[in-house]
């Protein structure tokens, strides 16, 4: 339990760091942020929007520390300022609409990819130099070398536009009303399948190779030799002695790769016009909606930190040495 608590403290520190970074970035950049913003939006925004923008950054003449205090105060009441792109909606509200979709798409794809990749890694390492081990790694490494969004574009063009097997945009049909009925859910799956598959395809090789290599390390260890000396069945050795132990470092690296993979899946969302954080991020970049951009950064960071903590707790339950 001490371990879980220690990790929690660490993630709180990391969260504080991200929050402070978020405050600092506009103020550290070359030039005065207020001027930058005003220059960029000159004549493109209504005066009240401009004022809101200024207010949401707390860009006043007050000393930095006071500004920081105001910023933290706003943050704790969930006030991230107003969005420019979706003016006058508050940023927190705009982000709220996309967070669920992102977690659904990226969460499902990442977990599935990790599970499948890990399984393939176990099999490849066990039958080292076998057919699976010889064929899959190069193919999957090649696929993994594509940017997420490019593979998404190619898949969308081929299976969406050309072959017409999948819907080409959004998370559900425009003729449907969101709800918990079967028609809607099936439609959500239909829409999610192609983007999720591209994320899986890009990430699969990484998980497979990392599991394969950790598993090879474990297989080379004394405890496997000892298990074989005791005459244990190959199946028991493979799963209970090798895969189970190799899973521990793999789960840890899963946590660390999470932020990276999530970043990639944001771009996938953009290609599919999937209404998650990525799509919002694109709107924010296009309209130079700084409050929204930073709000998304914070939201994603907090989600990743929370996921990492969960991963740590899972590791703890798997590994008696830190239990």
């Amino acid at each position: 339990m001490a371990f879980a608590l220690r990790r929690l403290v660490f993630y709180l520190v990391a969260a504080w760091f991200a929050i402070t970074l978020n405050f600092a970035i506009p103020r550290m950049m070359p030039g005065d942020p207020a001027t930058t913003i005003f220059a960029r939006f000159q004549g493109r925004l209504a005066p009240e929007a401009l004022d809101a923008l200024k207010a949401s950054f707390g860009l006043t003449d007050a000393p930095l520390l006071t500004q920081y205090g105001t910023y933290l105060g706003h943050l704790f009441t969930g006030d991230l300022g107003l969005s420019v792109a979706y003016f006058p909606s508050p940023v927190s509200e705009v982000i709220g609409t996309g967070l669920g979709w992102t977690l659904l798409l990226a969460g499902t794809a990442v977990c599935f990819s990790f599970a499948l990749g890990t399984l393939l890694g176990v099999l490849a390492a066990w039958r080292r130099g076998g057919r699976l081990d010889a064929i899959l790694p190069p193919i999957l490494s090649f696929l993994g070398a594509f940017p997420y969004f490019w593979l998404a574009m190619a898949a969308l063009w081929l299976f969406g536009y050309t072959l017409g097997w999948f819907p080409v945009r959004h998370a559900y049909g425009s003729d449907l009303e969101p709800g918990w009925d079967l028609t809607f859910l099936v439609d959500v799956v239909r829409h999610g399948l192609l983007p999720a598959s591209t994320i899986v395809l890009v990430t699969l090789g990484g998980w497979m190779l990392s599991m394969r290599n950790t598993m090879l390390g474990v297989l080379g260890g004394e405890s496997i030799l000892y298990a074989r000396a005791r005459g244990l069945a190959p199946r028991t050795i493979m799963w209970r002695y090798a895969a189970r132990n190799a899973l521990l470092p793999s789960v840890t690296s899963f946590g660390m790769a999470l932020g990276f993979v999530l970043g990639g899946s944001l771009l996938t969302e953009i290609v599919f016009a999937y209404p998650g954080q990525g799509y919002l991020l694109l709107q924010a970049v296009r309209t130079q909606d700084y409050p929204l951009m930073q709000g998304i950064f914070l939201a994603i960071t907090l989600a990743v930190l929370a996921a990492n903590w969960i991963v740590d707790v899972v590791t703890m339950m798997l590994d008696p040495r830190i239990r």
Binding site: G220, G221, E222, S223, L225, Y226, A227, R228, A229, R230, G231, L232, A233, T236, R240, Y241, R244, N245, L248, L318, D319, P320, R321
Partner: protein
Amino acid sequence: MTTAAAPLLSVRDLVVEYIDAAGDVRILDALSLDVYPGEILGLAGESGCGKSTLAFAILRLLRPPAVIRGGSVHFAGQDLLAMPEDALRALRWRDISIVFQSAMDALNPVLTVGEHFEDTFRAHGRPAEAGRARARELMTLVDLDPVNLRSFPHQLSGGMRQRVGIALALALEPRLVILDEPTTALDVVVQRAILEKLVSLRARLGFAMVFITHDLPLMLELADRIGVLYAGRLAELAPTAALAAHPGHPYTRGLLHAFPSLHGSLSEVRAIEGTPPSLRSPPTGCRFHPRCPAATAACVAENPAVRALAPGHLVACHHAGEAAR
């Protein structure tokens, strides 16, 4: 020690090589020895001489890139080199078990001690309930509290882990237990307690032991017979008393002198000069000749055959017996 009985384990001309792109490396070269029921056979030699390789080759547990190139290994009449995978798996631990050098590395860190017993019993078709009772019994046998069955390896001390290793090795009442430097990582007091335990267990249960260590004084105390290996070959094999009294091989003499005798002073210690040869390009003839104080032209030219110096006293040296001191 009676050597009249049929050997339990019989190794003949065993050749083990590591396959390497740059040329195969011979790790064991035509090695022969027998282990008789109930005896303690010690295997001595510097590290890399092949004594652990021999232990694992017997069970065919050597990992790639090792292959067995020739010879034969018979256990109780069965040919282990011709045995199919399944039969081999069933034989392991039921007939021959091993105590590893480091139980810390050997035990699976995420399984409890009890689960190690369970897995072992299940692999050999023993019912779970009886297995649990037997595990408790075995723990008591090695002076451990059965509550430790619920512990994970890292929660035990080094000595306790090594005892677990012994208890596990005895789980299926094997006829041969191989001990691969079982106590080198432990302090002297714990080491002594564990070895005494082993010897008393052997007296009670009657298994044979192959005891591997580079601690020759310890071996002189424990073993019935001692085999000395040098660079993958057998240098000498003799009953302990004969080996200590009349070592036939200069290497054995060197080993005996390399350790302070209990009564002698430290100044008597003389290490063997030089280092063991590379197995990739071993010396011609007798592999010990570059380090041998008595080497002659014959030693450089020809590999000495293993011959009997006295009944049961084998030695591989051209000059053994000539200048017996």
